[in-house]
């Protein structure tokens, strides 16, 4: 694997006195798709939030291009090239689809304009037809497409996707996941937090399995067996090369 674009080093995160993450070492390279799997409460979303600066961590615990970025505010992380599709979509209700997307264009990371409105409309054609509609009037799947498109228009070098398949019909999930190769082919690193293990394995180059705030398994997605994942997901510590 080439040098990591984004990495965490012994990352610990807390909610008040409660420790949610215990020394997470994680990395993703440019153009790579990495899946983060684990049960509810394993710490997957907390890891993404810590990377994004939504949870304060020590500077050296998160590195982008080798430079410490831990504790930087979320808008600073976006400016540095880390985008996120947040859990639950978190769209701006009361605004049209296109205004939601324009907010991301207005605040995109500098030095890159790979993603344009035309390009995200080509990726999700339905959004072009719905561009003037209020975002809350869209179906769940269409809203998820807006959330992905919005994150892409931030021009991220690393795209963090938090449970983008949650609550969606299989056909819609397939539509959204079909977009992932064309995103990573452009050199964007993708981190997929996913509860559907089969989907995560299929869509990713490597995967990390988390349990109770720790990484219990890491390896190439194609090489990791269902038994290894099952053990890491539910309890016994495993490491696959």
């Amino acid at each position: 694997m080439s040098a990591p674009l984004l990495s965490t080093h012994g990352l610990q995160a807390f909610y008040g006195d409660f420790q949610a993450l215990f020394g997470i070492d994680f990395e993703v390279a440019a153009g790579e798709v990495v899946a983060l799997i684990g049960a509810n409460g394993a710490g997957k979303s907390t890891l993404l939030n810590a990377i994004m600066g939504a949870i304060r961590v020590a500077p050296d615990m998160v590195r982008l291009d080798g430079a410490p970025t831990g504790g930087a505010a979320p808008h600073v992380m976006v400016a540095k090239g880390v985008g996120i599709v947040p859990e639950g979509r978190r769209l701006f209700t009361g605004m049209s689809v296109e205004d939601n997307l324009r907010v991301a264009i207005d605040h995109s990371a500098g030095g890159n304009d790979a993603w344009t409105l035309e390009r995200v409309y080509a990726l999700f054609p339905i959004l072009k037809d719905k561009r003037r509609d209020l975002v809350q009037s869209l179906s769940g799947g269409q809203q998820q497409m807006v959330a992905v498109a919005r994150a892409l228009l931030n021009q991220p070098r690393v795209l963090l996707c938090d449970e983008i398949s949650l609550g969606l019909a299989p056909k819609v999930i397939n539509e959204i996941y079909a977009a992932i190769p064309s995103i990573s082919d452009a050199g964007t690193a993708i981190v997929l937090v996913e509860q559907d293990v089969g989907l995560a394995k299929k869509a990713s180059d490597r995967l990390y399995c988390m349990l109770e705030g720790k990484v219990t398994l890491t390896g190439k997605s194609a090489d990791v067996s269902r038994e290894d994942i099952s053990a890491a997901y539910f309890g016994a510590g495993h490491a696959v090369a």
Partner: protein, 285 residues
């Protein structure tokens, strides 16, 4: 004919209320920040305007050019230094902080300017009027209405079409998601409050020209601004404008019924709107 006169005077009075209400529409209606010191800020600016106008013999236009940037700067500092520290999903901290600020400002103004009522010298414009049949239409109230309409249209355009407006609407919809989309919400809020209090700079000059101001007048202006925003519907700039018109017309008609009934008539219409259409005329249920 006296009811037509009441209607016209009510619309003109609504122009002044719209200038109080626009900043409130932005802070309360869009940002959901309850600024209890809104009226006191306007009175402070009007008293500063009186002192500047008297000390340097400034005309109303020069005073506007000076006072609006001062107002915007005060708004920016207020949000940056005070309100950004207490803004959250819970409105109570901002209510308490601005309530304290309101009391402190009233006492400071009393100390500096005393309890006397004062007004801004307008060089005769405040008395000028046009006669249309039996009805007299004041030149200054017409200017106030025109400026209020222009400010409403401008603010609406800024909110709908500018990068800043989109960032503000996004931050108001979901502040955490806005930050995750690259917006610095605290900076956006500071500029929005600068805009809101900057608009109060216009209101302060026109209030000082049209009427008199005293340090204890702020709470009454705050009530008018709140009522206008709620009558019109939260989050709608043109709603606040129309709410101001409803309030102004209600008061003008009330004054015609009985001189002591005008202010109460406005409050009663506000209560009636709350009872019948709590989301306001332009608000979505």
């Amino acid at each position: 004919m006296q009811w037509l006169d009441a209607l016209i005077q009510g619309v003109l009075l609504g122009g002044l209320y719209a200038q109080y209400a626009l900043g409130m529409a932005l802070m309360f209606g869009v940002m959901r920040i309850v600024n209890i010191s809104h009226g006191d800020l306007m009175i402070l600016l009007a008293l500063v305007g009186v002192s500047l106008a008297v000390s340097f013999s400034l005309g109303p236009f020069v005073l506007l050019v000076l006072l609006v940037p001062i107002a915007a700067a005060i708004g920016y500092v207020l949000q940056h230094a005070v309100l950004n520290r207490v803004v959250s999903q819970d409105p109570l901290p901002s209510i308490i902080a601005t309530f304290g600020l309101s009391i402190a400002m009233q006492n400071a103004m009393l100390q500096i300017w005393s309890a006397d009522t004062r007004s801004i010298p307008g060089g005769g414009i405040e008395q000028a009027s046009w006669q249309v049949g039996p009805i007299f239409i004041g030149v200054l109230p017409v200017i106030v209405l025109v400026v209020a309409t222009a400010l409403t249209g401008g603010l609406d355009a800024v909110l709908r079409f500018s990068k800043f407006g989109r960032a503000l609407r996004a931050s108001a919809a979901d502040v955490e998601a806005a930050a995750l989309t690259g917006i610095n919400p605290k900076a956006v809020y500071a500029w929005a409050t600068a805009l809101a209090v900057g608009i109060l700079g216009f209101a302060a000059v026109f209030q000082g020209l049209r009427s008199t101001v005293a340090p204890s007048d702020g709470p009454a202006q705050l009530i008018y601004a709140f009522e206008a925003v709620i009558i019109g519907g939260m989050g709608s700039v043109w709603g606040a404008f129309m709410g101001s018109m409803v309030l102004g017309i209600s008061q003008a008609i009330g004054f015609r019924i009985s001189p002591g009934f005008g202010i109460l008539a406005g409050h009663l219409v506000f209560l009636a709107v709350l009872a019948v259409r709590p989301q306001g005329i332009f608000g979505r249920s």
